[in-house]
């Protein structure tokens, strides 16, 4: 172990702001990306379910071509 104390660890030889600023922003961005990806999945599922209700195909089954065209 090379750190004498926790405060020495956080201080990083005087460069704490730079080191922790790097790691902090990186992990914040990773967390943000994960949240956005999960959010997008939820939004897509919700939107597609609504879309299926709108075209009257609530249950399973393939849409007719005519309905498809009118939807687009």
């Amino acid at each position: 172990m090379q750190w004498e104390s926790w405060s020495a660890f956080w201080d990083m030889g005087g460069a704490g702001a730079f080191v922790w600023g790097s790691y902090g922003v990186t992990f914040a961005l990773v967390a943000l990306e994960l949240v956005l990806v999960m959010q997008r999945r939820k939004d897509t599922v919700k939107r597609l379910l609504r879309w299926r209700r709108a075209v009257g195909k609530d249950g399973s089954g393939r849409l007719g071509a005519a309905q498809l065209e009118s939807e687009q």
Partner: protein, 265 residues
């Protein structure tokens, strides 16, 4: 457009359970596969990050010349590697899409782009924070930094173009072209910037790292690089799944998936 869609689907229905890996090129095969694989990659990323952080902060020794601030290297270098590598993979999938006419490849390249841009930004950000205490400036117009910045712009261009085009067929192909044009230009940009940089040796900052790097430092960097790989795989697979649903929304199997989702709440 609907014609093309049906054509392709029929083509895929011919052999949905082929013996080769190619059967996963069919969206209805790939969707559940991606869902099964992603958590494993995410877990691997978590474990590797934990190991990497332990190596970076508790095993790797203090650098003789730079002190503790060099520990930024353990995310800076993997992020820079990853940002370049992801662009190449993106261009690869774009080329596969154009040649083989597989829509899944285009979706893959579009799902990779945001993560690549994120790593690109991380590399620039950590580079700036590392630069301030070591060279006294957040930014110098060094060849590597400048190319990294231009790479970020290339990512932005790709993302903006594919988002701006509403017709997915056109968006796929247009994005693929710009990804390939960018990939051809990346080495040209790098060498031109390097040439420019040697002519304008203004600040005369040497960015060459110490030749002898402790083995533990290298190990920490590699483990973090593998963590970045695993993370990229996980997040890309997660991002690809809703994109597939969106594009295949007219098909039966997506209907079944959605019914299951609704049942879940």
């Amino acid at each position: 457009m609907a014609d093309g869609l049906n054509l392709e689907k029929n083509h895929m229905n011919v052999k949905p359970r082929g013996p080769s890996l190619f059967r996963f090129a069919a969206p209805q095969m790939f969707y559940p596969l991606a869902g099964r694989l992603a958590p494993w990659f995410a877990a691997a990323a978590l474990v590797l990050t934990a190991i990497g952080m332990w190596l970076s902060f508790f095993v790797a020794p203090t650098d003789a010349t730079q002190g503790e601030v060099y520990r930024v290297i353990f995310i800076h270098v993997p992020a820079a590697w990853m940002s370049m590598f992801i662009y190449l993979v993106m261009a690869f999938w774009a080329a596969v899409g154009l040649v083989m006419n597989t829509r899944l490849s285009f979706v893959m390249s579009q799902a990779l782009a945001p993560t690549g841009a994120m790593f690109c930004f991380v590399a620039l950000w950590t580079g700036a924070l590392w630069g301030k205490p070591t060279w006294g400036a957040y930014w110098v117009w060094d060849a590597r930094l400048t190319s990294q910045l231009l790479l970020l712009f290339l990512y932005f261009g790709f993302i903006a173009l594919t988002r701006a085009i509403e017709d997915p067929r056109r968006a796929d192909r247009a994005g693929a072209i710009i990804a390939l044009v960018g990939a051809v230009n990346v080495p040209i940009i790098y060498f031109s910037v390097k040439w420019w940089n040697t002519l304008h040796q203004g600040a005369s900052v040497s960015l060459t790292k110490a030749p002898s790097m402790a083995a533990t430092m290298l190990a920490g960097m590699l483990v973090m690089a593998f963590a970045a790989w695993a993370y990229t795989l996980a997040v890309t697979l997660w991002r690809v799944r809703p994109m597939i649903l969106e594009r295949e929304r007219h098909t039966e199997w997506v209907g079944e998936v959605l019914d299951r989702e609704r049942g879940r709440g």
